[in-house]
């Protein structure tokens, strides 16, 4: 019981659907939706450079979801050859928006 509660305190779930990025070349779009309890993570990834950078793309996403301890999350990623700092920036933005935690912006 104690371990279970602990686990629940540690993980974060998206509160609202959120989006970041654009459809422009060299950019990436992230769409986040909350999922019901205990759904885990559902990841859908597509990229114009999937062949060459698919592994790297997936790794960045998983690492950041781990960093924010995200679960019960549906994440759709559509990449058009964005560089690493762009991917990370867009994902961080989408996660923070989905947690309803973004500061210094209008919603």
């Amino acid at each position: 019981m104690w371990a279970q509660v602990n686990q629940q305190l540690l993980t974060m779930k998206p509160k609202i659907a959120a989006q970041s990025g654009t459809f422009e070349s060299s950019d990436v779009i992230f769409l986040i939706e909350p999922l019901p309890e205990n759904s885990g993570r559902k990841l859908e990834m597509s990229s114009t450079v999937m062949q060459q950078f698919g592994e790297n793309f997936k790794r960045i996403i998983v690492e950041m979801l781990d960093q924010y301890n995200m679960t019960d999350i549906h994440l759709i990623a559509k990449d058009k050859g964005a560089l690493e700092p762009t991917i990370k920036a867009r994902l961080e933005t989408a996660i923070k928006r989905s947690l309803d935690e973004q500061e210094g912006t209008l919603k």
Binding site: S25, S26, T48, V49, Q51, Q52, F53, G54, E55, N56, K80, G81, A82, L83, E84
Partner: protein, 518 residues
């Protein structure tokens, strides 16, 4: 067997024959003659006052002895507006002809409709300078059993002379022709300018059909193709989509990146030691490699330098420079817009040339032998300055050898312009997927992040450094780009060879392996 660039070349390929490995750009030429014998042109006789006119393309093809295993050829002067290639192959297919060798001087997106014929055995071999779009993708995936042969413009002429390509039927689109088959592309509603790639086909094909949508009174002037080579003439409503063949004028790009690279390239040329009165110049047809002309034009005016001739691949920008008095002559093997066709027709110093005179190395000297400065693009370039213009980084066949290796071998200064990466894909690699033009013929690489000089030319590097240009070691630039994009995972291939890349002398400079698609 390994060729001199370290690429593995098979000794023999079923359906193509014995292969000779590449051994250096000038090795075969320096002999002074070509080892391979040339084949004779067809043996014909014609009675006076015969009619060559046919009622339809189909009728003309029927009369041309179509048979299984035949080789059919076309020129690509109609670019993406061409409809005749697809029409001809469809007619042949419907006649039940199979095992065709397609020898079009290049292949474009508009030719995608023949893809089913590659799948069902109608077409079994392809010789071309370039393959793109769906055809290119299918070729990379191994749709044909026999590898395609990629050749340069000059190399195609050589192949036809030696009988490597033995043309049974050539269909020559012309924007104006007369009843005897004198034909040209320089005027008419579908005018496309120079018809330079078709001249060798007219000379060597066993059957020559000229197709026009503009029958003029005899004689059709100029005689770009002359009647003594033509068997049949067909008049159709349209030889292609004029709007896709040659529109208006070619604009210089607005892309800040391309302009930046072009400006740097012009600085390189200016300080190279080759920017002298009487210099001969060739640029590309778009993007950065055309934009260089804009900056060179300004520099020529400022410094009062007059050039000798422009060569190519001619756009209206070149015509403007001719009319400005900045160059004395244009040699035109392919015209890219309507302004060029007009100039070709009306200006005696704008000269139409056939592919043989343009770039065949096996004669007393083609015009690429006289180029001082050429500006070329690249899909990829490696740290040895080898250039790939045929396969994309994702492994698809989507480019053309064209005049790339021809001009690079002749020019005193070959400048390759390209961004250091496109999207997330590095263009500067440790090793390119497919070598088309060998590094020994490339002098300088110009990117937005730095200029790299081939170490084989230390005097050039000195000149450029003294001029204060941003010279970087290509190995350093390659590492810099890797840091920006990350290192891409290598593509996966099978052992099956789907294409061989000929150098202009007929040796094999590289092969293309079948792409494993996930």
């Amino acid at each position: 067997m390994l060729n001199s660039l370290g690429r593995e070349i098979p000794e023999y390929i079923e359906g193509i024959g014995k292969l000779e490995p590449f051994q250096g750009a000038l090795t075969k030429l320096s002999k002074g003659w070509m080892d391979e014998p040339t084949i004779p042109a067809p043996n014909k006789a014609y009675l006076p006052h015969q009619s060559k006119l046919c009622n339809s393309l189909e009728e003309a093809i029927l009369r041309s002895n179509p048979h299984n295993g035949m080789t059919v050829s076309f020129h690509h002067h109609l670019r993406n507006g061409d409809i005749l290639l697809v029409q001809t192959l469809t007619i042949l297919h419907n006649m039940g002809i199979r095992d065709i060798t397609l020898a079009s001087s290049s292949l474009n997106e508009c030719h995608d409709p023949i893809l089913p014929y590659l799948k069902d055995g109608t077409i079994t071999r392809i010789y071309s300078s370039g393959i793109r779009s769906q055809l290119g993708h299918a070729v990379a995936l191994g749709v044909l059993d026999i590898p395609v042969v990629i050749h340069s413009h000059g190399g195609r002429v050589r192949s036809i002379h030696t009988g490597k390509i033995q043309i049974d039927l050539t269909v020559i689109a012309a924007s104006a022709a007369d009843c005897e088959g004198n034909a040209t592309g320089s005027h008419g509603k579908s005018a496309f300018g120079s018809i330079g790639y078709a001249v060798i086909d007219a000379r060597y094909a066993k059957q020559v059909i000229v197709v026009t949508d503009n029958l003029v009174n005899f004689p059709c002037i100029p005689l770009s193709i002359s009647q003594n080579f033509v068997d049949q003439v067909v008049v159709v409503d349209s030889i292609g989509d004029a709007s896709k063949i040659a529109t208006g004028t070619t604009r210089i790009t607005n892309s800040p990146m391309d302009l930046r690279i072009a400006k740097l390239a012009a600085d390189v040329i200016e300080n190279s030691g080759f920017f002298e009165p009487g210099f001969a110049f060739q640029v590309g047809a778009g993007g950065a490699s055309l934009a260089v002309a804009k900056f060179i034009r300004e520099k020529m005016k400022t410094k009062g330098i007059k050039g000798s001739f422009m060569l190519g691949g001619i756009t209206s920008y070149c015509v403007d420079m001719l009319n400005d008095g900045l160059f004395e002559t244009i040699f035109d093997v392919q015209s890219f817009d309507a302004t060029v066709s007009n100039s070709l027709l009306n200006n005696r110093r704008h000269i139409e040339i056939p592919a043989a005179l343009y770039a065949n190395p096996f004669n007393c000297g083609c015009i690429t032998n006289k180029i001082d400065v050429v500006v070329l693009g690249a899909l990829e370039i490696d740290v040895d300055f080898n250039v790939n213009v045929i396969t994309g980084s994702e492994g698809k066949v989507r480019g053309a050898s064209g005049g790339h290796s021809d001009t690079a071998s002749g020019a005193k200064l070959t400048v390759v312009v390209c961004p250091s990466f496109r999207g997330r894909i590095p263009i500067i690699k440790k090793r390119v997927h497919t070598i088309v033009t060998p590094g020994e013929t490339i002098h300088v690489l110009v990117t937005e992040r730095g200029i790299c000089v081939n170490p084989a030319f230390p005097e050039l590097e000195e000149n450029l450094k003294r001029a204060g240009l941003n010279i970087k070691d290509i190995h350093d630039l390659e590492i810099e780009v890797d840091k920006i994009t990350g290192i891409p995972a290598p593509l996966e291939y099978t052992d099956k060879i789907v294409g061989i890349v000929e150098y202009r002398d007929g040796t094999i400079i590289d092969v293309i392996h079948q792409l494993k698609e996930k």
